[in-house]
Symmetry: C2
Subunit: 441 residues, 2 copies
């Protein structure tokens, strides 16, 4: 039992074992070049052995700050965008109540976790200000440079709020900056104002940063056990480094399968979870996959769905629409709490389910969907994890990181850069008359 399983039985009508094993030599070669740091983007391989290199001292330091937040804040506002936002959001949703922020404090046993700086919406920020009015809060600003427009704007406004509410002395204790180790606007500002800082390693890119303090501080503040999380990641790191054989390395197997499907004209990967707690984790995956692979006019379009919810919206399209997609079902083997369906004396035709658990029904819905979509021409596989524990989540984060790195290499792109992200920013800066960017209209 590896805690992560990949069932690709239903792909076998489309992909042969020969095609799959035919890629083993490429995988071996790319694995070696990844481990030796010889491939494209090797300046950004800090994530590769990050779990095993994360010290207890760092985790203790993060946990100490988290303790302060938990004792002194009703709301913890995390300011960041992209990789400085999605991982923490994914983790909190994966492991906490579906209604974490709405529970009474006593049940939640941790602050509300709110996010800002992930958009430029005036109404969103005004709504957030209204929400925190009168509540005790702490801030975590997460930005390598400190100059990314969205979080920089939100942080400026929220810092103002902290200063007015608490004064500079107390503000110092309530603001945490996760940023570059030495340089950058945010590092400078944090040092000048005496904010506690946590470092984002130079060689870890944003979408690969969830296991650094970028993700760890919000997770710990939400009451998650980050030591166990890192232990889980470490175990998958060790498995993945030990062997590139596809029968042992599930990350690489997943990479190979999706690469072959892409080559056969499956332009869209629809990751479909059967549990709402996986929704933001799929958003995190979409950044990881899309930003790593979408370049040079190629790459699978990563989409996500929540089933059975979206079977009642996108289900028709998946069953009978254009045949350019494959599905990856994303399952959790067992819910934390089992609920049984009661018997009822009416004729809604549901009594055949009386005494069954929801997990039982959900599992049949998944199996029914998998076979129906396969029959309809949508090849699909299943990624499943045992539970919603921190250990499992640590493994999952690393599972995907390793898989997408290999996937990008198979595709022939540099999975660690993102040249296309700059284009809209440049255009925006010109329009905003930012110094150094020419004159806007």
């Amino acid at each position: 039992m590896t805690a992560i399983a990949l069932d690709y039985e239903r792909l076998k009508g489309l992909l042969t074992e020969k095609e799959i094993s035919g890629l083993q030599p490429d995988v071996d070669r790319l694995h070696a070049s990844l481990e030796k740091g010889l491939g494209a983007g090797s300046d950004y391989l800090g994530w590769l052995h990050l779990p095993s290199r994360t010290s207890s001292a760092l985790l203790d330091e993060v946990m100490e700050s988290a303790r302060f937040v938990r004792e002194n804040a009703e709301v913890f506002i995390c300011v960041g965008i992209g990789g400085s936002y999605l991982g923490a959001k994914a983790a909190v949703e994966f492991s906490r109540s579906a209604f974490h922020n709405q529970l009474p404090r006593g049940l939640r046993q941790s602050p509300e976790i709110q996010f800002a700086g992930q958009n430029i919406s005036s109404d969103y920020l005004a709504d957030l200000f209204e929400l925190v009015e009168g509540k005790e809060f702490c801030l975590n600003v997460i930005s390598k440079s400190g100059t990314t427009t969205e979080p920089a704007i939100a942080f400026r406004l929220l810092m103002d709020l902290v200063a007015r509410k608490y004064g500079p002395e107390e503000a110092r204790k309530r603001v945490f900056a996760t940023t570059d180790q030495k340089k950058g606007a945010l590092k400078k500002l944090a040092d000048a104002r005496g904010f506690k800082t946590f470092a984002i390693p130079d060689d870890v890119g944003g979408r690969y940063s969830v296991l650094t303090p970028v993700g760890l501080l919000p997770m710990a503040a939400a009451g998650m056990d980050i030591k166990t999380l890192i232990a889980g990641a470490r175990s998958w790191e060790s498995l993945s480094s030990a062997s590139s054989a596809l029968e042992k390395n599930l990350s690489y197997l997943y990479a190979v399968l999706r690469f072959l499907l892409y080559k056969k004209g499956k332009a869209i990967e629809l990751m479909a979870a059967f549990h709402p707690s996986l929704v933001s984790l799929m958003e995190w995956w979409k950044q990881l996959a899309g930003e790593s692979e979408g370049k040079g006019q190629r790459g699978i379009f990563p989409a996500s769905a929540l089933y059975t919810t979206d079977l009642h919206s996108l289900g028709q399209w998946v069953q009978e629409g254009s045949r350019n997609l494959f599905e990856t079902f994303f399952m959790v083997d067992s819910s934390r709490r089992q609920i049984e369906i009661p018997r009822l004396d009416n004729d809604d035709g549901l009594n055949f389910l009386a005494g069954k658990t929801l997990d039982f029904v959900n599992d049949k819905a998944y199996k029914g969907t998998a076979s129906a979509h396969l029959e309809g021409g949508v090849p699909n596989m299943t990624l499943s994890v045992k539970d919603r524990s921190e250990y499992t989540l640590g493994r999952l984060f690393y599972f995907f990181e390793r898989a997408i790195a290999m996937s990008g290499y198979l595709l022939g792109v540099n999975p660690f850069d993102q040249p296309g992200v700059e284009f809209y920013k440049k255009n925006m800066f010109v329009l905003l008359n930012k110094p150094g960017f020419g004159k806007g209209s």
Copy 2:
């Protein structure tokens, strides 16, 4: 000023005016067949003149029930899936605070609006039970037949909770059933127990039902002005029926543009909003578009993104990945509350924005994105609305309904059926040993 605008200037490199106007005769013909009820799926055209046929008496009745809910419930739980869920969720998010359910009651001035029966997750439901523990609540179960598995299970469990908490007499007042006018398991059960019922017209399909009590009761309970909403829808109905000329009928123009893009190999429509309040409205649109068009192995894959958030995740893919998509930007002209960026004496390089509003910056981000993506090979257009009022939302719902009906007809499919939705259900029922569905494994 029509309150909805469609700017397709940036498509003109790819689509000529001649191609667009070349479809006018088809549109005229399909418009006539729609209005006369002669096209495919004409048994389900109840939505077409629904706004103008909605009586004041019905709206008053809905508002009276909503008043009871607002006065007697801290939580209003809506039980439904697909079209019995997405519209209400979209509407509440469009018009209320981004943190509606988290605000203190005094600020919210309406109950929390929660959803159930939209999945089969044991943990989700357990979390919901924990959330409502000790709170006053009312239930709205929404299902035409009452036998759809997901809501039927959730309703059974929640009805149990109501009965135990309030006893049968009080329960009678706290449960509202939106269902078939005369027949079906839920109608029977509701009548037997004395629940107040609202009718879903026979000729209105689930994804076209948001302007019936399916959507109206939750909206009114959340404090929305449903009379104004219907007035907005009515105005767009009247505009749309009056003329099929593409320069006057923006719904049809949108349908024609996306049809032409699809014909040119753009397999994915990425609808991208710049405001978080539009996220669930895009989910509603995805059902409407995907379920109406995805059949006969054709149809655009409807995807959505929230910008600028997702520019930091999917942005790279959109800018430089596979060139098989187009974008529809979804804008709100003006936020409700304007926030100005303050000046700060540090060198985060942001002072060039001091004194500017967030709306100003967000607009430049949009314009920068539109030109960058166009340059990168992603044709795009912009759908924009004036504000987040009920009137605008009513127009928008109808705008999309009319557009997707035309779009399906152009594609040559019946936009009002969903044969593919049944497949997974059949498989699931077999696996669950449902009577009449054969033996499972």
